[in-house]
């Protein structure tokens, strides 16, 4: 596969700036080869929506400057829309069960929650922290939202123990169900 395609794939997948040295090492190429690939890629991307931006040490894939007004408008409208019923349910599960993993949220809701969680993260309603014990993320309610809700102690939440019990019971049962699949 051409190096420019490899570099594009990496930058697209990571969707964050990548160190040139890391890229060179990953693909086993030298600086000259990377430079050529970058030049080819820059040229190829010109007719599309993305651009390769380059600093001394890093490269990154971004949307073209011409798209900036449209992207900004999208960002605003995205935040203007409400989180919806699914968003509220996900938020409520985190509120009552935090810290909680995505897998647990998914199992309780019975659907995949990854895009909803992203939306809640983008809005600053929840936080995502790495859990070293199981090499995954835990989700919690953001400090700002806790303050907004006026919650200081979880036990003050309406029906806290009743709801916690119901969810815990389900979790025990769910483990049995999962095995049968």
């Amino acid at each position: 596969m051409p190096v420019d395609v490899l570099v594009e794939g990496l930058l697209f997948y990571k969707s964050a700036p990548q160190k040139k040295v890391v890229v060179m090492k990953l693909f086993g190429i030298n600086e000259a080869e990377l430079s050529t690939a970058i030049a080819v890629l820059k040229e190829r991307l010109m007719i599309g929506a993305t651009r390769l931006v380059e600093t001394t040490d890093e490269i990154q894939l971004v949307t073209s400057p011409e798209l900036a007004p449209i992207i900004e408008a999208m960002r605003k409208s995205e935040l203007k829309a409400d989180i919806g019923k699914a968003g509220a349910e996900t938020l409520a599960i985190i509120l009552y069960q935090e810290p909680i993993s995505r897998a647990e949220i998914d199992r309780i809701r019975g659907v995949n929650s990854s895009f909803i969680l992203r939306n809640l993260l983008i809005r600053g309603l929840i936080e995502r922290n790495h859990n070293k014990n199981r090499n995954g993320y835990d989700f919690t309610i953001s400090t700002a939202l806790l303050t907004h809700l006026g919650v200081t102690h979880k036990h003050e939440l309406p029906d806290f123990s009743k709801i916690a019990n119901a969810l815990e019971q389900f979790n025990e049962k769910a483990e049995v169900i999962d095995e049968s699949i």
Binding site: D82, A88, L91, R123, L145, G150
Partner: protein
Amino acid sequence: MHPNAVSNFSVKTDVFEGPLELLLELVERRKLLINDISLASVTDEYMRQVSLMQEMSLPNTAQFINLAATLLLVKSKSLLPVLELTDEEETSIDDLEERLRKYQIIRDSALILQSIFGSKSMYAPQFTPPTVPVFVTDEYCTIDSLQSAINSVINDLPQKETQAKAQIKVTISLEDMMKKLQDRITKSLHVRFSQLHAGETEKKVVIVGFLAILELFKQGNLLITQVNRFSDIEIELDKGQTPTYY
């Protein structure tokens, strides 16, 4: 392919999740096409599997028994062409063949999906949370809204118990089903099978015995005098109604 490719009574019946899967396996094991003849020829084996499942109280047995009823109709009709089927029964037989053919296509395409699944995946970009702090609340971000949201979550949790109950409700036992069919055939032929359900008789024996009688009938060996020698099965045949074309 299945560990139970060799059929005997110690087979692991739980290999089959559904009745169509079992039936198709039996037909294909004999390298047969799907039609009334092949279905009739695998009925005994199917019944044996299902009676085993019933004894072991395996899940989904109800669905296996429902299908067994249709299968026995196919078998009975093939052995006793004089047996008149209702339109509904004819439809259910045609339906079974069609469902089996359809299931066969699905099962084969599922094998393709399973083999390519994950072998060369395409990936969406990794998600990087925004670095600029944003805090946007909406109408849902209140204790009241979140409380009603969590209650709706709890209401929607799957209830395993209710589902199990619903399944038990549709369960009819193999015996009930066999009895019904037997009555049907008796009526249709003016033949009476009696003492088929001798108290000590095992289910398996009853089913196998019942089908054996049908086989005998088909082969034209079923004469009253012969049959009367079996003390546990007594069959009365109205001579005037004896099918003459065997």
